[in-house]
Amino acid sequence: MSIADRTRIAERLADVGYIADAGLATALTLMDMLKRPLLLEGEAGVGKTEVAKALAAIHGAELIRLQCYEGLDRADALYEWNYQRQLLAIKAREGADPDTVEAHIFSEDYLLERPLLAAIRRTQAPVLLIDEIDRADEEFEAFLLELLSDFQVSIPELGTVRAVAIPRVVLTSNGTRELSDALRRRCLYHAIDFPDVDREARILLARTPGIDTALALQIARLMGEMRKQDLSKTPGVAETLDWAAALVGLGVSRLDADREAVFETLACVLKTREDRSRLTREVSDRLIGKVA
């Protein structure tokens, strides 16, 4: 790996609107080099999911997303048989040799692909996003481990399915549950933090049409200040983007020149009643004064 590789991947990400720091660019380069999944950890709103989207965009690959939740099991994640069609097929073949019927109904035609199976059967390597893996149960995590190390699964009725092209796998976690060491060891790791002012301003410039540099910087600085406040839900990058779009839409060019609009649009950023009442007009004005 050279600095050129890393720079190239960072540039390609920037082309699709994702501003990555050097650490993430290195991790992504390494991911291609070692064919390993990448585990991203960080608070909600720092842009973990966006990494997978950007990765898919730069490789022109399909993004296959598996959203994890409690109780997610193999059937939901991997494959399911189309029972309805199977039952109809049985009905339609009444009287036929049971073995033939069985072979027929457990064939490819009746297989419902779920995200994981889809990811390993694509001929073009997709990006597989396993979102919020910490929400899934430990059993599922263990199953995933097996899949991610060999990129193959066995379906009892069909046999082993081997990956046609190794997908690029991105896992994200908010730390709801401690993940197993085995899974962590299988993955490359990157912790994403809220962007610093410079990076957030660049994100705004890349993603918000019609925003000028001075405003982007002011917004980024204000977001930095806001995250230092004692809020129950720290605003993420998505909130920043929403807010910037709202401000640009209202024709705001400088935060300090249009304090009223800033205060009115804070709803884009503050998502709980508690936070809304905490950030009074005075606080808002003080923060604007600080960043202007």
């Binding site: 790996m1 950890e41 409690e70």
Partner: protein, 394 residues
């Protein structure tokens, strides 16, 4: 990524290999979970062209060798110490002992003859062991039945105490086994609900087109333990800790905190398999105990700093404390209310309840009580055992 041709790892000289192995060992000593595979990958990464530059090597090794946020945060200091000879390592080499390093950073082993095994960071334990009063020896205390009923603070004999610890652990294990079994039964897989399936098939003339599945029972609760480690609780903390350590495995998603004048996250120490070692680690973390207990402030720290991550709607918070609070009772009340809004229920275990004539008159305790779902004694093993049905229902 055509430029990413590997050089063969064989191109790497033995000196560099040794150095890398040393780095991996240093990371391991500092709690990184690394196996041979990672060491091999690190070698392959090192062999790739361009890796001579630290600005590339560092983030690459960080992505490869870190597994969790704590690793991530410690990595830079360890990297600099090892490869650039800055910070920790130079300080440690100068003093020559691992103990002089920052507590969270263990020094690289001194060399092949270095005797600092991975266990050396816990040698200083023992403070949490319940101080024996010279009087109050109990002859029958070694017998299980009477020990189960003896108030922990009256167990003075170190042997009896060790026995009580072992018993607490055993009790926890058997409870854990039963709790886990219940969970397993409740979680048996997806099943077709035949009755409802057939009813749903009526419009299609008995062909069950829509299969109705039985709902899978959701997981049991998460347990979050807040353990009071203040002076007034010191006679109980050790046994509680052993008990909680034992029960925690039943709740695979469990978190533990310890508080006195401030709050300390001790989940990692709790996850230590060996209970004695875990206790040692925790006693190190509890250092600085003294002064009053600020339950309100500790709860505030918990609500602010950890609750969002640690608590979900099916979380039971278990507070083990005597309720002697040197802070404002109003504060405790407010924080308890905030906590109750977040979690399913709060269980407060108080060793004092076991005492004759105890009334929760301490102002702090009185302020906390309205928010507590279960207020139970926990002064001896019997009272701990009585908790099982409640835990099973959580």
């Amino acid at each position: 990524m055509a430029a990413l041709a590997f050089r063969s790892p064989d191109d790497i000289g033995p000196a560099v290999r040794t150095r890398l192995a040393g780095f991996v060992r240093t990371l391991r000593d500092n709690g990184f979970k690394l196996g041979h595979a990672e060491a091999g990958d690190a070698l392959a990464v090192l062999a790739a062209p361009g890796m001579e530059r630290p600005s590339i090597l560092r983030p690459a090794l960080r992505a490869l060798l870190c597994g969790r946020r704590s690793d991530w945060e410690a990595f830079d200091a360890l990297f600099e110490a090892f490869w650039l000879g800055r910070g920790v390592k130079s300080r440690v080499t100068a003093s020559g002992t691992a103990g002089a390093a920052k507590p969270s950073l263990k020094a690289p082993a001194a060399g092949p003859n270095g005797t600092h095994g991975p266990a050396s960071d816990v040698e200083r334990g023992g403070e949490m062991e319940i101080e024996a009063e010279p009087s109050g020896r109990r002859e029958g205390a070694s017998r299980v039945e009477s020990l189960a009923r003896t108030d922990f603070r009256k167990i003075a004999d170190p042997e009896a105490l060790a026995e009580a610890h072992a018993l607490a652990e055993r009790l926890a294990r058997s409870m854990r086994a039963r709790l886990t079994r219940r969970e397993r039964i409740a979680r048996r897989g997806r099943r077709i609900d035949l009755r409802r399936t057939i009813r749903a098939s009526l419009p299609t003339g008995g062909v069950p087109l829509d299969l109705v599945m039985k709902r899978r029972r959701t997981r049991p609760l998460r347990l979050v333990v807040l353990l009071d480690a203040s002076g007034s609780m010191s006679l109980y903390t050790g046994v509680f800790f052993r008990f909680v350590h034992g029960v925690l495995d039943a709740f695979r998603e469990a978190e533990a905190f310890l508080f006195h004048t401030r709050l300390v996250h001790v989940s990692d120490a709790m996850r230590e398999r060996d209970a004695a070692r875990a206790l040692d680690r925790m006693s190190l973390m509890a250092e600085g105990v003294g002064g009053g207990t600020r339950i309100g402030e500790s709860l505030n720290a918990f609500n602010r700093g950890h609750a969002a991550r640690v608590i979900h709607s099916r979380t039971c918070v278990m507070i083990l404390s005597d309720g002697y609070d040197t802070g404002e009772p109003e504060r405790l009340g407010t924080e308890m209310a905030a906590l109750r809004r977040r979690c399913r229920r709060i269980v407060w275990l108080n060793p004092l309840i076991g005492w004759d004539g105890y009334e929760p008159v301490a102002r702090g305790m009185a302020a906390a009580l309205p928010h507590v779902a279960l207020f139970a004694p926990a002064h001896n093993l019997e009272s701990l055992a009585a908790l099982e049905p409640y835990l099973a229902r959580l």
